[in-house]
Amino acid sequence: LGVTLNMRHPKGKDLFRRLLPLADVVTDNYTATTLEDWGFGFEAMRAINPRIIYVQSPGFGKLGPYRDYRSYGPLAAAVAGLTEMSGLPDRLPCGWGFSYLDVVAPWYISLAVLAALNRRQRTGTGVHVDLSQVGPGFLLSGTAILDHAAHGRVYQRTGNRSPDRPAAPHGAYRCKGYDRWIALACFDETQWQALVRLMGDPSWAADPRFATLEARCANQDALDAEVEAWTRTQERYELMGRLQAAGVPAGVVQDASDRAERDPHLRARGFFAEVDHSEIGRHVVEGVPGQWSRTQPHPEGPIGRGAPCYGEDNRRVYGGLLGLTDDEIDALAAEEVI
């Protein structure tokens, strides 16, 4: 549901105050003190509704000297070290081609809300959670922090290679067509031998430089060049099917159109869901990754609709939930309260 509400207007504050007893959870990603400045810090909200759960997620969090610092997804990834970990070793990091932490931080908001709801089932009390966009990023840098703590080692990126779980070849290789690629990985001898057979047992594969996994890892530049000379003659999806049939982990580097049009598995799993939008009509969205035996979640949620339009549910919420009459709602709109 989506409503509009002018929180600076006394009547707006009054409406919010009347919504609070009906709520289980309040979440916001305003700056750290916005809600508090409007008169709705956690303690104030708790005084109105003792069971309220409040999860706030300003860029850097509320506690600490960076309280008023600003964050966007790319910036949060940079501070948490995740940007540094993406790219070729001999070039500047390329970072993520999208705002990873714009996706991850909301997962942690969900995590905090659900954790608090579970806790409230047991204790009957709500909580305040001071989350941030940057913070979850420190859980996602793998062993880099631990390796630094243990050995003083400074993380060095290695492009698409796999230094901690030895594999070679391991990377993205060009296929037939413009900017078409396949990712493939050989972690053991069986996978490597299967790849060699698929390539038609070329003589270069018998070179001592490629005789063992250790040797292949040590000569990856040469190995990659040989493998790519073969993959560039191959159609990417056809090649993926043959590699997988032979037991070699492989996947086409799929862009958004590939995932939507050329991934029969996503489709078979019911990954794509349809939702209603009041202006653009029925449209397709990403679904959920799990298939549940009893209470299957759906992007439409319990109200059976996609994202709301601006103020779409003002009447439903202020009328249906708070009991305001149509005239009262119209008056609030005229006063720019909603």
Binding site: Y100, D130, L131, G135, D179, H265, A268
Partner: protein, 405 residues
């Protein structure tokens, strides 16, 4: 009233690298997570890096990172006594988290239908799920990030002759992070629902689908508009590096007021005052290639005269959302993150020292995040856990002699 979120919740984890991070999150939330390993230890103990560079089941930093806060037992699923133990263990569980290949546990007679009571929430995490055309396919972190769409948009921009570099997979098991974050949310939701209905359920979780749902707006943009993003087009990494070569994220102005703050900051340098010209102030003109080139040149020049960390604070104190590209460990000494308890010292008695982990995504005195103890040794809690199930020391000794644990 203080209290960990999942106090009193028991999780039995039969997961390898695919789902271990999910188990770690549940432990962080206060659950009693019991990791079940085969005798001799889980395969993830063989993933590096290793302590002091020497491999060994009790030396894997990878295992430590993803199994923090869990207890550990061993049992052999290939042994009838081992399977019976698993049955008893699951009888004490609220949640089962497993990542064996599809149908593997069913084949051993210890699948969901065989051993889970109605109250159990059971999540099977596999590369492609329990059904569908790719069910038997092999994957890895790299393969998931290829299929999931991350690599297609990560990398360097094309030159005049197209791309001379491949799509890039961001490193350090991100596909597993992406999957585990979502699986943990699923488990918390199913547990909450169980609190209302009294019933558990089975969740068939596909890493491929989870990763496919993690490209921000790229897939939804295509689905609605048919547009496909190219890679290397990030607007915030524009090649600005500080005087020591450290890259800086120069987030462009998106909201009213942001441009004016950026312009005033750049104009501190006399030779960059040209950014105050009207063509820069107009948001439409500012996006044209000619003005963008001059703007980025000004930003690069301004940043190159300073240190990245200095840029961070100069910019942020003006309300400009710029920041350094830090190394993953670089925030360990940052007062802000120290005050928030983001990192924790975890004792490793066997090493005679403690090690620092990134542990705590939020601050909440009433719902704290648990930050230890260190990952279990193989079979470390056999006696405690199996003893609490009613097994006597003699029975445990027999099971040990039979190779069941």
């Amino acid at each position: 009233m203080a209290g960990e979120a999942l106090e009193g919740v028991r999780v039995v984890e039969l997961a390898d690298r695919l789902g271990e991070f999910c188990g770690r999150l549940l432990a962080g939330l206060g659950a009693d997570v019991i990791k079940v390993e085969p005798p001799g230890g889980a395969p993830s103990r063989r993933i590096g890096p290793f302590y002091e560079g020497r491999p060994g089941p009790e030396r894997s930093l990878h295992f430590w990172q993803y199994n923090l806060g869990k207890r550990g037992v061993t049992l052999d699923l290939g042994n009838a006594g081992g399977r019976d133990l698993l049955r008893r263990l699951v009888g004490s569980a609220d949640v089962v988290l497993e990542s064996y290949p599809p149908g593997h546990l069913d084949g051993l007679g210890v699948g969901y239908r065989d051993i889970a009571e109605e109250r159990v929430v059971w999540l099977s995490m596999t590369d492609f799920g329990q059904g569908g055309p790719y069910r038997e396919w092999q994957a890895s972190d790299l393969v998931h990030l290829a299929l999931g769409g991350q690599m297609a948009v990560c990398g360097y921009p094309a030159g005049d002759d197209g791309h001379d570099t491949p799509p890039i997979a961001p490193q350090m098991d991100q596909a597993e992070h992406i999957a585990s974050n979502q699986a943990c949310t699923d488990l918390l939701a199913a547990l909450f629902e169980r609190g209302l209905s009294g019933r558990g359920q089975y969740i068939d979780f596909s890493v491929h689908s989870a990763v496919g749902a993690c490209s921000e707006f790229h897939l939804s943009t295509y689905l609605v508009s048919g547009k496909v993003a190219s890679r290397g087009g990030t607007t915030s990494l524009t090649g600005a590096v500080d005087r020591d070569g450290v890259p800086v994220v120069t987030q462009p102005a998106l909201f009213p007021g942001e441009w004016e703050r950026i312009a005033e900051m750049l104009a501190e340098d006399e030779d960059l005052r040209y950014v105050l010209e009207p063509e820069f102030a107009d948001p439409v003109q500012r996006m044209t290639a000619a003005v963008q080139d001059r703007l980025q040149e000004a930003q690069r020049t301004w940043v190159s005269r300073r240190r990245a960390e200095e840029v961070f604070h100069l910019a942020q104190r003006r309300g400009v959302a710029w920041a350094p590209v830090r190394k993953p460990h670089a925030s360990l000494t940052d007062e802000h993150f120290l005050m928030r308890g983001t990192f924790s010292e975890v004792a490793h008695p066997e090493l005679g020292r403690s090690l620092t982990y990134g542990t705590t995504p939020w601050v909440s005195p009433e719902m704290p995040w648990r930050t230890g103890p260190r990952a279990p040794l193989p079979g470390e809690h056999n006696e405690a856990v199996y003893g609490a199930l009613g097994l006597t020391p003699e029975e445990l000794a027999e099971l040990g002699a039979a190779g069941a644990i």
